[in-house]
Amino acid sequence: MQELKTEPTPAEIRDQKPYEAWGLSQREYEYISQKLIGRLPNYTETGLFAVMWSEHCSYKDSKPILRKFWNDGSRVIQGPGEGAGVLDIGDDQAVVFKAESHNHPSFVEPFEGAATGVGGIIRDIFSMGAKPIASLDSLRFGELDKPKNRYLLTECVAGIAAYGNCIGIPTVGGEIGFDAVYDGNPLVNVMCVGLMDQADLKRGRATGTGNSIIYVGAKTGRDGIHGATFASNEFSDEKATDRSAVQVGDPFMEKLLTDACLEIIHDHSEILMGIQDMGAAGLVSSSAEMASKAKSGVTMNLDLVPQREPGMSAYEIMLSESQERMLLCVKKGEEQTVLDIFARYDLDAVVVGHVTADRQYRLYQHGKLVTDVPVTSLVDDVVEREQPKKKPARLENVQPAQTPVVQQPAETLKNLLAQPTIASKQAVFKQYDSQVQANTAVTPGSDAAVVRVRHTKKALAMTTDCNARYIYLDPYVGGQIAVSEAARNIVASGGIPIGITDCLNFGSPSDPESYWELDQSVQGIAQACERFDTPVISGNVSMYNETDGRSIYPTPMIGMVGLIEDVAQITTQSFKTAGEAVYLVGDTGNDFAGSELQKLRGQMTPIGQLNFNLDAEAANQRLVQQAIRQDLLQSAHDLSEGGLGVALAEALFEYQLGFTGQTELTNSQLFSETQSRFIVSVQPKDQTEFEALAGKQAVLLGRTTDQDAVQLVTADGQLTARSSELKATFGGALGCLMK
């Protein structure tokens, strides 16, 4: 073993403790030295341990909690633990999906940070053998009155558009929320969905002694070194200068990489033993994980790794987070087949190592052995820590929220429609190519996006949801609501929810209150998932979302996919014609805790008690599902932020309809955010059948008209407005605020 002269010796490392700055604790360092490798690690090895033992790579803090998720269910082909999860959708096909956060990189460099977030999650999808068919983006920013937040929003959206549009994967949905807690800590979560034949399933495994490890894609540069540990540390203004080269995405390269890898998977499956993308902690995490999962060892020669810059150390090569790179394990003797295919796509592909039987992880550089440690010490032996938990004081003795007085419901409605969190996101999603691949049946703007499965009758519905204001008020119930809202969106679109992915955006795990919130919301999510038969098949954890000691609202984003058995059942949120009968499904109470009305009235930090009942939720979803199956509905729309008033207005806009009706609800209840509700519209000829099916679960609100007017008589007043004016307010608000 020999070190480069400029690198500190193992003894110097022990004495000077540079690993602490890399996030490895003294105890961990000692445990690794004494128990796992029986000697002092050298410089390269110390770097590898620091990054592999970071929360970002090892999930050491979150794993004990993530085990509480529910991952079973009859459709699951692959649960968490691989690039992405896989669900059976019949006809020997499968849907593959996963979500990932790119919060910190997007704060530092929003355009490239968001773009490379898209690129990263796409690699996870095609590495499983699936063709990526859709992306969704879930975003959170501080309020738009601050120029910095406008800049972050504009640039993140441009980055997502640049990458997704170029690579040719439609961006079909997502969500955007605004709240001052995301100042200095925006959330950029991206979900990708893929479609595959089950026969093509691949996993990230380095199996078979003697088989070759092939590196393919972009050259390795000094990009984002320590990105993984960086993402695992709290963000403070001071650290903004302490960073290495920004990762830049190259969607053109990734398109070639996707096509080439899928060609190999389709045509040469028998020689491809495993494939994984190089994500966080690049080459080391992909190679070590592939070896660990296959219970094998791996030896690589770093001189063979394609490098963009001269003089890179072993440490830099292994930790680089250069984008658009993949690692393949290919049967010995068959390498040329694979190399030839990559050559045809003009991609760098090199045999950099081979699989060994002895489960050691060995790296050579300049003819010297620079790393020699057990694979397990890098991957499997990471010491999990269940952190202390504490219920935050704000959650003791919570009272119901006050019911705001609403005297002029039309004014309130207009103000709500202009809230950026509620207003149309068209100014954003118009920048995304949502139709490439020519399969998008429902483009952004309805409850869930729908992508048909070509050459079948099936379609996939997909959505991302999380109301963090609710999570803040009650992480357990808020977690249930996040899953339920996602399911409601799927159901309203004509689908059966089949599974979820998630991005758990939280504060520091060493903050007992944050950790408690994580634990509670995971349990809430798990319970709702079991209830809706939507296993968690993949996900991602992003902790340390704090700036200078202040953390975001806990934001466990849920990405859900639903199956539509027959494209004839695709339903959208818009009323279609004048004369449809409009029904409200589900009971309405005075639910203003965490509501947009509460925020509009100046209560910026949500307050009050959440009410939620999973049984009512399930019953109402069943009703809508059944009514769609019986072909009774012209439209279905779930109620979320802004309640009935907002949902009713939204359903009028697409076909420029009016509405007239009457309700027993009060003015303020028009904006109550009671969960588990839908509005649906029914043709007159189907009303009797629908009412028989719905019984007490639905009440008639009124009818659509061809007038430019909305009229709704309430128990204590009346809402009167022009629908065109509401539409202009809703449509224009976000675009104005972004300028």
């Binding site: 530092v108 830049v248 984008q323």
Partner: protein, 85 residues
């Protein structure tokens, strides 16, 4: 009236896929003697400032705030006085 000529280029360690694509295209066109390509942006900005110093201050601020991304790019500029039209 002053004219500023501003060049914004990537820092050396930053991946520049555009330059790579352009270089590859040159090689495909048999311009084999091209050994390196770097690319950047070029701006000509006319400023109605009282003095050259004032113009420079403006340009410096514009570069910092708008034209160059300090995470990835560096800039250089020259300011010269325009003959009165």
């Amino acid at each position: 009236m002053f004219l500023a000529q501003v060049h914004v280029t990537y820092k050396p360690s930053i991946l520049d896929p555009q330059a790579v694509a352009i270089k590859n295209a040159m090689h495909r066109l048999d311009f084999d003697q091209v050994t390196a390509v770097r690319q950047g942006k070029y701006f000509e900005i006319t400023v109605d400032a009282p003095t050259s110093d004032a113009a420079e201050t403006q340009i410096e601020a514009i570069c910092d705030q708008l034209l160059a991304n300090p995470n990835m790019e560096t800039y250089r500029y020259e300011v010269k006085e325009l003959a009165n039209q």
